[in-house]
Symmetry: D2
Subunit: 333 residues, 4 copies
Amino acid sequence: MSTEKFTFCQFGAGRIGAIHAGNIAASERAELRYVVDVNEDAARALTDKCGGRPASMEEALADPAIDAVLIASPTDTHANLIEAAALAGKAIFCEKPIDLDIARVDHAADIIAQTGVVALIAFNRRFDPTLGGLGEAVRRGDVGEVETVIITSRDPAPPPIDYITVSGGLFLDMMIHDFDMAHWILGEVPHEVFARGAVLVDPEIGKAGDVDTAVVTLTTKSGKMCHISNSRRSVYGYDQRIEAFGSKGMIQAGNRNANSLTSWTSDTISHDKPLHFFLERYEAAYRNEMSHFLDCLEGKATPMVGMEEGRVALVLGLAAKQSMASGLPVKIT
Amino acid sequence: MSTEKFTFCQFGAGRIGAIHAGNIAASERAELRYVVDVNEDAARALTDKCGGRPASMEEALADPAIDAVLIASPTDTHANLIEAAALAGKAIFCEKPIDLDIARVDHAADIIAQTGVVALIAFNRRFDPTLGGLGEAVRRGDVGEVETVIITSRDPAPPPIDYITVSGGLFLDMMIHDFDMAHWILGEVPHEVFARGAVLVDPEIGKAGDVDTAVVTLTTKSGKMCHISNSRRSVYGYDQRIEAFGSKGMIQAGNRNANSLTSWTSDTISHDKPLHFFLERYEAAYRNEMSHFLDCLEGKATPMVGMEEGRVALVLGLAAKQSMASGLPVKIT
Amino acid sequence: MSTEKFTFCQFGAGRIGAIHAGNIAASERAELRYVVDVNEDAARALTDKCGGRPASMEEALADPAIDAVLIASPTDTHANLIEAAALAGKAIFCEKPIDLDIARVDHAADIIAQTGVVALIAFNRRFDPTLGGLGEAVRRGDVGEVETVIITSRDPAPPPIDYITVSGGLFLDMMIHDFDMAHWILGEVPHEVFARGAVLVDPEIGKAGDVDTAVVTLTTKSGKMCHISNSRRSVYGYDQRIEAFGSKGMIQAGNRNANSLTSWTSDTISHDKPLHFFLERYEAAYRNEMSHFLDCLEGKATPMVGMEEGRVALVLGLAAKQSMASGLPVKIT
Amino acid sequence: MSTEKFTFCQFGAGRIGAIHAGNIAASERAELRYVVDVNEDAARALTDKCGGRPASMEEALADPAIDAVLIASPTDTHANLIEAAALAGKAIFCEKPIDLDIARVDHAADIIAQTGVVALIAFNRRFDPTLGGLGEAVRRGDVGEVETVIITSRDPAPPPIDYITVSGGLFLDMMIHDFDMAHWILGEVPHEVFARGAVLVDPEIGKAGDVDTAVVTLTTKSGKMCHISNSRRSVYGYDQRIEAFGSKGMIQAGNRNANSLTSWTSDTISHDKPLHFFLERYEAAYRNEMSHFLDCLEGKATPMVGMEEGRVALVLGLAAKQSMASGLPVKIT
């Protein structure tokens, strides 16, 4: 079978892991052989559903039949797993972020470079028909020279406070997606970051040292500008929009909902709210992401988001935190 | 002044008359000299606001300074006024319908033809930026050969029962607009009419011998088809939509509202309702209609809706009533 | 395994069969054991992908492990397969239409009734989040008492002429979906059908005895009205819309496209076209339909579309053909 | 007549002056008596059309019949005219900005305060059904506590270079509207301004010392944030949008176009572009603004935008210029 299908070992059997394992199982080009998780019950439940069996990291990486690893474990394990997998010669599909420390990212990137394995950093929005479609349209020149980008990203509700304390905070766990999209759409690494934020949603978030509402301005050397705004709470649901404006026009990526119904009553004309959260909203993106990775494994494509892009998003996130703290714009060197 | 501006006598000082008189007053090319109405107080109120003074029909038509008459009086006076005005050599702007009797329409049309005066039958929708824009787009071939037309027309609330008893009923006072639009958009006189209707809104309408909800199918010799649906009551307001489908695509005319606001709440995404009724919805159409008539007076245009078009709409309305009564399709000869 | 998952035999390995087999394979509650098709290569290709193996009808129906049959074979085999499956005690998931002959449908329905097996007639639109959502909204009273329904259904391109000659024609292979939706939304069996049609797209369709463009008016005893329009060709793609108007408002079901992008250029503001055709447009509907059938097998639901609904849609289609031929409205008794 | 209608003297007979004079002439509550303009031909042309006659400032302000002045002359004459009119006891309708110099604004404001005359600073967007409707909705709490505001404002094409050299530049002639809207919607005077800009449209603008593309971040003491982006060129026309996000939801103000047509072709689904520029887009706003001013004259309302609001917008514009120059955020004291 491994001569026909790419064989995966997956690290992490949580919520996002379940999505990826499901996409491996559903693909005609892939199969799941191992799931590694400290919670063995979770690993077992996932393999019961998607194939394969629980295993240890050592066993999995030692198995020559394994073609690729999918890293969906906690962030602080990513860099280690990337390095171990690369040294074992496995292709790598890794959830964002690579790590919260630039030096750690650079070390992992060096090993990827030395081993030459395929490595995809899974920024899901690039693979979404709407948001990814916008990025592709801008890259191929549909709006001419891009001049201003406006990104809005709001979650339906804040994550648990526990999560915030380990995630690096809003700029690193949430806005990092927007930084990656900005980088891609602008076509340049921004050279300045200015951030402002506040605690407007939940005081507990402030006590944990983070903000829950934030805005950022990115500028590039060539004068392009990008505005990003984030909120940890949106009563109308997940709000994921981008617009790119340029010399030949504008392209907008709007929200998606589950149907195309419009109701006309004596009060208003109304539609249903957007799809609830990322699992629903990016269902197609996750599928496309896996398909792209399999294309890379087959040599038909090269990863559209690699270690370098993962590093840029992290650099921007760290600069935003610094700007937020200092109150001043921060230059990217 | 009459050498510079076209001078009008208006018949009728009611609600629709107030609109037209206002447009005459606001135009740099027109002025109002007389208003004729059996209710002299109403005539006086209108001339106080829009210029001119109340007068009798005889006085007004005898005044050689009068260039044009605007007929916005009750339907049963239209044909007489058209004939008198034509014989007096005045240009004619007449509210629809010309009359409810085909023989009477034909007689008036003969006199128009003999006198050669300019005559515009005021089907306002042809002059609306949206609905008229659709008609023009179809006539210039934007959808290729038109094949199917779907017209929806719903009033916010039924008229007084009194009105229904003199208006000729739904097919002649309301759907007649849709028949005119269908005739224009199809580019052919339909050769068959099939109508169905019911009393679903107010039993009093049924007692008055009319229906309050109706659907009609028109077909043309070349095989084009048109569906029209009407209701006397729409809780979300005035609903005026048309779509024309053809070999090269479709064009849709949607409703209008007074703003472009969208509200996103924990329940829904919503917009305001459409503009309430014809006075608001067709404000621009009434202005454009007057402007077109003045263009005709200046010889820059010929009436885009004349006696013939008014006659066709009436023929279709009468056929619909007959079909409704017989339960069978009615041929137009 | 059959104690845990419902085991299927599928008849038909064509395009629509591939969809259903894929949904069986993807479900945690179902598995495919046999595929029966006169084209054994097609059956083999499908079982290679979705599980199970090719078999004969006799073998499949004789296997006590089979819980359900899925009938996606040509229309003229449906009634026989329904009867054979029912007599073998298998639950039935059958593609529409049941048959083109009412007597044949009634005979199959009798056997279903006698055997008491679960039977679902697969009108996919009822299970679509948008169109099915509209039906549910109307049934629960969101628009008050429904008064007028307008259904638009246009295919991107005509089917092969061969298909038209066996399918029963536009009213039975295409508009039959709209008849079922109308029946559901109106909440009554229409008592009169008036149809008009023409050959406007391809003269070959006319030579084959069919029309390619058609409109139908349905009326119910209580005075509700429904307009349906169909075309075999729509240059902008698959056009599937419904609106239901009633005493408390209106609900509209619009088209779907693959993204939410809007492009603003010096010429226009534009969106992508709708999803191409039924395989893309109704992907979710097919999944939901299978899920509903499995709910029925588990006793959690009863089929929302059964033999009776399949019969009504056929009756309306045959009446439309008769009306088209006679030029007169046809009463449903 | 002056006992019945408010009598106006207008300063300035240019493009925007023509709009206001037309609205005075069209109102039943107002009449135009004088137009003052150094270009007497322009003054004459306007009075020929809208009533009254050309006059000098001295004559006009000395006429006790004059109730109100409308100031639509060049910016550098505003403060002088405001002061002269206030001292003459006339009510004041003044185009924005009051002046480019804060001290000059303060002096004029003092005189207004001393004389107690009615003074309206004509920020037209506050009176627009869409943008003004958004402001009112936010002020009455429709989105709960407002948290983030995003304002997009793009002109179809740059003004003449001459204009830029006297207008104060993009932040003072264009973004000043957005500053006023931000101030109103946020419900607080921002306490920090951060601006970035670039010359991306026309190098001549850069040579004139201005930018043609700019973004600004405003923050308030309570932590609210606002992003504004401007461009001097938008190929798809005038782009005027705002969204306000808060604890209970979001409200968006979108663009307007002249019709509600949608075209479906083999390529795309498309709409017409937005209304071309401010004269078309804000036609209703200008009418409403005059109506509001007349309400103020009648004592039914107090000016919704006065000297203080005009001053805040100027302060924000000057701070943005300073931030742009220094590269640092600027505090508002």
